[in-house]
């Protein structure tokens, strides 16, 4: 069982130090950096961010929940993202998503109980020529078929169990 990395205040402070204080326009950039460090946006880190940029927790929370790119719950070790862009859609991406939902037994946007996999949709990653596209841990897998997807994810599931 993999745990999400612990939230160390020191680590958050280091990220915050890269941006001048009391500058609201750094907020979205900061949230990205924090998410890159923790794979999600921990509440504690958001509260520290709010203080740093000089906004209330309410304003920070509404920004964090407004944008699709931010996650407020711990995410899995492996992140499977199915591109739902138009080009991918007409080439069958909804079926790939359904397949992953069945195989991982979670819905889109959810994380497996053991924090191994998170399944996500993205609206388009701009690699439309290669649709349908499934991104696994940042790697673009183009022209995806259900058989290849089974192999790819199946292999990772086995590895995870060892």
């Amino acid at each position: 069982m993999t745990k999400a990395p612990p939230i160390k205040a020191e680590r958050v402070r280091k990220i915050l130090a890269n941006y001048p204080p009391h500058d609201g326009s750094a907020l979205v950039n900061l949230l990205h950096d924090i998410q890159a460090a923790f794979r999600y946006l921990p509440q504690k880190a958001l509260q520290m961010t709010a203080r740093h940029v000089g906004l209330s927790p309410a304003r920070v929370f509404e920004v964090a929940t407004f944008y699709e790119g931010f996650h407020l719950k711990p995410r899995g070790e492996h992140i499977c993202t199915v591109c739902m862009g138009t080009a991918c859609h007409v080439r069958g991406s909804p079926r790939l998503l359904e397949q992953l939902e069945r195989d991982l037994d979670i819905g889109a946007g959810q994380t497996t109980a053991d924090l191994t996999f998170t399944l996500e949709e993205v609206n388009c990653v701009g690699a439309c020529a290669l649709g349908p596209l499934v991104i696994i841990d940042g790697k673009y897998n183009g022209n995806m078929t259900s058989a290849r997807l089974t192999r790819l994810v199946g292999g990772m599931q086995k590895k995870g169990k060892k």
Partner: protein, 251 residues
């Protein structure tokens, strides 16, 4: 700067840059709206204050709350198209807030008895129509205890991190401005319950009646600079004291 505009063929004076809705209402024109408040920046959420505006040759159907007045505009506040589109948005809103008397009445005025859609009611804040008046008023007061959560179809109103907020003072302004009465508030002789928290009242030093929540008083003392004893007596006791004092004076 004062400018002249035309509303339904009448000449109306208005301030340049002010909300067209405010100007029109001041001049006596009735325009429905559920998300506008003069003390707050307009956001044009409910889409009921639709009017037709002709400005520099271009005609458009627009919300009046967030339309800034400029000299010479020509405004129509009632037409078949305006009524049709107000009714359409009322129908959509009514499906979110079937329990709101005010909304039901307004919808009925526009011929909408019941929405043709299944209700889509916020489970945590039934009848909320997402006008954001509560969020905006709370921010305007400097408390920032409320926020929107999410966006699009999933947008809702709630607390930061979905937890009771330590910046809420229990003033109840959100309740006062809510157009659909969807915010829960309950006062007992000693405490006020709102947004998942209980706020003890400051009790009148004479009769023990509730005066104001303790944190709201603390906030007011800090922000408004009036002496503390302004906040320790209830309205009735103050009146009684005033009348006694007056009675003592020889007139």
């Amino acid at each position: 700067m004062e400018v002249t505009i035309r509303i339904n063929d009448a000449e109306v004076k208005a301030q340049e840059g002010e909300s067209l809705l405010d100007a029109a209402r001041r001049a006596g024109f009735s325009i429905p709206s559920l998300c506008h408040h003069q003390a707050l920046e307009p956001i044009g959420a409910c889409r009921l204050c639709l009017v037709e505006v002709k400005a520099s040759g271009k005609e458009e159907l627009t919300t009046s709350c967030n339309f800034r007045v400029t000299a010479g505009i020509e405004v129509v506040t009632d037409s078949a198209q305006i009524r049709k589109q107000r009714a359409a948005n009322l129908e959509l809103l009514l499906a979110r807030a079937p329990g709101s008397t005010r909304l039901r009445q307004l919808a009925a005025e526009y011929g909408v008895a019941a929405p043709r859609f299944q209700p889509r009611v916020d489970s945590q804040l039934p009848n909320c129509i997402l006008c954001e008046l509560c969020v905006r008023v709370c921010a305007e007061l400097g408390h920032n205890a409320l926020n929107t959560i999410g966006r699009g179809e999933h947008k809702r109103i709630g607390l930061p991190f979905n937890q009771p907020s330590d910046s809420c003072v229990g003033c109840g302004s959100c309740v006062s401005v809510c157009p659909t009465d969807c915010i829960f508030i309950k006062d007992t002789p000693t405490t006020r319950s709102i947004w998942g928290q209980s706020f003890p009242f400051v009790l009148c030093k004479n009769c023990g009646a509730p005066v104001i929540t303790g944190v709201h008083r603390d906030f007011a003392i800090k922000e408004k600079g009036l002496p503390e004893d302004y906040y320790d007596t209830c309205e009735s006791c103050k009146q009684a004291a005033t009348s006694k004092r007056f009675a003592a004076v020889a007139w």
